[in-house]
């Protein structure tokens, strides 16, 4: 059965159409959720897409986390609902303390857009079909993607390091971390854009593997 996936649209979201498109391609029933609403309309999963919410002013994600819908997202997350933050969405979830750590300016001080290889380090609902060690090619595009955490080893020991840059660390992230989850594993965030890697015409399909929680549930036998 296909899953209803809500894509949160904030003022300044840019990749929400891309997310809708990609989610539909992996078999979900995606719909937009509006930042000013306080509920999630019963969706099965939530994606916080990329973009520049509130212009990324002050800090990326800093202003978006106060939107009314974020209360509902936090509650959904606490109840174990799958939540994925992509790029700016990752930044929003960190600012909202739904994910550990913080994202700050790339060490290069420049925005960077290119395809990178990431290695899967742990399993969670969003990459359910992949085994740790799998390497995927997915684009990144961000100016503030340097992941900072005081204890990256502790995070890894807790199984919360989801993805690492496999060879090229494009932003100076600590311990090459490209994606993390919360302790329970249902809330995940990543700087790469899986929604930009779902169509062979647009640079590969590796991103599909990172949208597993949106794919139809296997039919019950």
């Amino acid at each position: 059965m296909s899953r209803r996936v809500g894509v949160v649209q904030f003022p300044g979201s840019c990749d929400e159409r891309d997310a809708l498109h990609a989610l539909a391609l992996v078999g979900a029933e995606p719909e937009l959720l509006w930042h000013a609403e306080a509920e999630l309309r019963g969706v099965d999963a939530v994606v916080v897409p990329g973009g520049f919410t509130y212009g990324d002013y002050l800090r990326a994600g800093a202003l978006a986390r106060f939107a009314p819908i974020m209360g509902a997202v936090a509650q959904f997350a606490a109840e174990g609902g799958p939540v994925l933050g992509i790029c700016n969405g990752f930044q929003v979830l960190c600012e909202a303390r739904l994910l550990p750590g913080a994202l700050t300016e790339n060490v290069t001080l420049r925005f960077v857009h290119r395809a990178v290889d990431v290695r899967v380090e742990a399993t969670n609902p969003w990459s359910a079909g992949l085994v740790p060690g799998a390497t995927l090619t997915v684009p990144i595009k961000h100016g503030e993607g340097r992941y900072v955490h005081p204890d990256p080893q502790g995070l890894a020991d807790a199984g919360q390091v989801w993805l690492r840059y496999a060879d090229d660390n494009p932003n100076g992230s600590v311990a090459d971390i490209a994606g993390v989850t919360n302790a329970a594993g249902n809330v995940a965030g990543l700087m790469p854009h899986p929604e930009h890697a779902v169509d062979p015409l647009l640079g590969g399909t590796d991103g599909r593997g990172l949208l597993a929680a949106a794919a139809p549930a296997p039919a019950a036998h």
Binding site: C14, R17, F52, F111
Partner: protein
């Protein structure tokens, strides 16, 4: 006393104090001032002088270029909207139309590269938005000084950062562009930006009032003092209250700070207004802000407009009326709305967090009336401001390049080591890998970029008019081209070749060139040779566009590009757009498969070192007579490319331009991570074969099984086909009898040129 009586009458604008002096300060000639007095029938007010001076400035009125631009071909069945509106719109089939236009932000980008370039991006995006279209792509043709100079490093890195900052944050992908460097741009960079938008054929909006009583709604940012005088270059120094105190005068910056976040909200709010058919006319506010948008919309309809300046939300309440009228504050639009739809319009804007304020209404008659504090501060015929400004036929004297009559094909000695020259060419920013720039841009947002920066043309899969990606296989290819050095040698021939090259780039992808836009970057038009170069370049553009059936649907003119009395090269930049029926058939520029045959389509290689990158970059010489382009042969080549792509007979196609076959072969090899083995034509010097820039040539690779079909098609089309060799596994481009270019070494040079431009030595 008559004057004080008049001043006391709140229905008649108070005359400006010392109007003649103010007019002069504003850059108006005495004849222009006399015309304003005659039109008003009285001494104009300060606000009126402000409005006229900005609207009659070169930037807004095209007073110098108008009589020449009229000669450009602008019609065709494909053209839904031609020059005169904010952007041209062409029909691309399936009920979809595409709006596109190019604009420059050259001067501000030198003063404040980041913000200057950023606001340029915002400005052209709003022109596309004004047409009812969703902006879906940007291209950025750029010109800087030579790498290494600290000023150039600051300007180039800042401009790229600014374009990225605005384009990335507003969610419009930057999918292409071009870069060149030349000392003439060191103090006057060129920052041109082309924007493409998609709109339903029946959803096009017009900047025109429709009916009396419609409410004028100001949408977007509050109006501030920024950019006042930015439109009329001459005004900025003295357009100030305390103009008599020149030394102590706070000179206002001509630079604005753009707000891509506000721009993004404006896009979404406007698109929702269009989708719900809530506006009856809309105009963006660029140069001359409120004055310009009201005058143009009223004049276009033969109606008047009355605006209460007290209702304009201001960032600084102390602003004078003329400042409010002429402010260039960014991210604003003026919409005309039927009174019964006003509440809906305000609600849509509120939902998007965009300020919207009714400030006036469309009136009967022809007057543009502005009031402040209950008194009329401006009352003049809208058409006199917007459409009846002065036009000039400025004196011309032939533009003669001092070295245009030399013969480098005959007298330039052949290189001892052509491979070394080949390597040297690859790190010139014109030929180098643009990745260090392109990487700073989001070219992926929108999920429509089939081919982004790096190819001959960007290829976009068209989204639906609502922005939904992936709904059709239909696409468009877009490319920009300009070549100041060649245009400096011969403005008319150079311009013809620029158009041909832009269209050829589009054709290489398999798309059919459909229409063009142009940005005419020139020096000081009061210098007769510059004026002549401009006029002859316009003729060249027109001839080529006529021949290629790519009418010019819009564009921009940027004059006064000069540093310390020295003009830039005449630099017309042309954007060409063409539809593709099926983006899965788009042809890449990179070699694809080992064993494919490499052929040259189009003219066989002739001597052509005049104005070439080799002559300039390796020999330090700009000289020669450009070989004339055969436009009929060009048309045949471009048609053939489309036909071959439709049949999926081409594995790759890449236009031969700067750096000749040498650079074209190297690029296809480097991008494809394949080598090549090629044999030059026997009766040509090796360096001519490698570096000649004779036009109308394309390097294509073809699967061996398809070669006979390609040969037959070329023969039937009357397009010469020359066998060059084959794609190989070896990481080198080997040229029989000359030597081999090692791809590892080549890649290193190729990847360093652009980085040097941005980072310095």
């Amino acid at each position: 006393m008559a004057t004080s009586d008049r001043a006391a009458d709140p229905t008649v604008p108070e005359p400006a104090a010392e109007p003649d002096a103010l007019a002069t300060d504003l850059g108006l000639t005495s004849q222009e001032y006399q015309r304003i007095v005659a039109t008003c029938g009285r001494t104009p007010s300060t606000a009126e002088l402000g409005t006229y001076s900005v609207m009659w400035s070169e930037h807004c009125s095209y007073k110098t270029s108008k009589i020449h631009l009229r000669r450009l071909p602008s019609r065709g069945p494909q053209v839904l909207v031609g020059p005169g509106e904010n952007a041209g719109v062409v029909d691309v089939g399936d009920g979809l139309a595409v709006a596109f236009k190019i604009e420059s932000h050259n001067h501000p980008s030198f003063v404040e590269p980041i913000q200057g370039a950023a606001t340029g991006v915002g400005g052209i995006i709003r022109d596309i938005l004004t047409m009812g279209a969703r902006p879906i792509a940007l291209l950025d043709p750029l010109r800087f000084g030579e790498p290494g100079d600290p000023v150039t490093t600051r300007v180039a890195s800042g401009v790229v950062r600014g374009i990225g900052r605005y384009g990335n944050a507003i969610g419009v992908p930057t999918v292409g562009g071009e870069v060149d460097v030349d000392p003439c741009y060191a103090g006057n960079p060129l920052v041109n930006v082309l924007c493409v938008g998609v709109v339903a054929r029946d959803g096009i909006q017009y900047a025109k009032a429709e009916r009396v009583g419609d409410v004028a709604v100001l949408i977007g940012q509050r109006t501030g003092r920024d950019g006042i005088g930015g439109a009329s270059v001459l005004a900025s120094a003295t357009f100030d209250d305390n103009a008599d105190d020149e030394a102590g005068q706070a000179k206002r910056p001509n630079v604005q700070v753009g707000d891509p976040f506000a721009g993004k909200l404006l896009i979404e709010a406007c698109l929702e207004l269009y989708a719900r058919q809530l506006v009856s006319g809309i105009q963006d506010m660029g140069a001359a802000g409120i004055a310009c948008s009201t005058a143009e919309m009223a004049s276009a309809a033969g109606l008047g407009m009355r605006v209460d300046l007290d209702r304009v939300p201001l960032r600084e309440p102390s602003m004078e009326s003329w400042e409010i009228l002429c402010s260039e504050s960014q991210e604003r639009m003026l919409a005309l709305v039927q009174p019964d739809r006003l509440d809906d319009v305000l609600a849509v804007c509120r939902r998007w967090g965009v300020d919207a304020t009714p400030i006036g209404e469309v009136t009967d008659g022809d007057r543009l009336v502005f009031t402040r504090g209950g008194a009329v501060v401006h009352d003049a015929p809208a058409a006199s401001i917007a459409d009846e400004g002065p036009t000039y036929d400025r004196p011309r004297e032939p533009w003669v390049h001092p070295h245009a009559h030399e013969h480098p094909d005959a007298d330039e000695p052949a290189p001892v080591d052509p491979i070394a020259d080949w390597l040297a060419l690859l790190d010139h920013p014109r030929a180098a890998d643009p990745t260090p720039i392109a990487e700073q841009y989001d070219s992926a947002v929108g999920s429509s970029t089939i081919a982004g920066p790096g190819g001959d043309a960007a290829v976009l899969r068209l989204p639906g008019a609502d922005g939904t990606p992936g709904v059709t296989l239909r696409g468009v290819a877009v490319a920009t081209d300009g070549n100041g050095r060649r245009c400096s040698l011969d403005p008319a021939e150079g311009a013809r070749q620029v158009v041909a090259e832009a269209a050829r780039n589009v054709a290489c992808t398999g798309a059919r060139p459909l229409a063009a836009t142009n940005n005419l970057n020139f020096g000081d038009p009061t210098r007769p040779p510059v004026m002549d170069a401009f006029a002859t370049a316009v003729d060249g553009l027109g001839q080529a566009c006529e021949a290629l059936d790519t009418p010019i649907t819009g564009g921009n003119v940027s004059f006064y590009n000069a540093t310390g009395g020295t003009d830039i090269h005449p630099t017309p930049v042309v954007g060409v757009l063409g539809p593709l029926a099926d983006v899965t058939a788009a042809v890449p520029a990179a070699f694809q498969r080992v064993g494919d045959a490499i052929v040259l389509l189009g003219a066989s290689t002739r001597p052509g070192l005049a104005g070439s990158l080799w002559l300039w970059h390796v020999r330090g010489r700009l000289a020669g007579r450009l070989p004339a382009i055969d436009l009929a042969a060009e048309v045949a080549l471009q048609r053939l490319l489309g036909d071959l792509a439709d049949e999926r007979l081409l594995a790759s196609a890449h236009d031969v331009a700067d750096g000749g076959l040498a650079v074209a072969l190297a690029e296809s090899a480097l991008r494809g991570h394949r080598g090549a083995e090629v044999t030059p034509e026997p009766d040509l010097a090796a360096h001519q074969w490698l570096f000649s820039e004779a036009p109308t040539r394309v390097v294509a690779s073809v699967a061996p099984d398809d070669l006979a079909a390609v040969e037959a098609a070329a023969a039937a089309a009357g397009v010469p086909l020359t066998h060059l060799g084959a794609v190989t596994e070896a990481q080198q481009v080997r040229v029989t009898g000359v030597g081999a270019l090692d791809l590892a070494a080549a890649r290193q040079r190729w990847q360093s040129g652009t980085a040097r431009l941005l980072d310095g030595p």
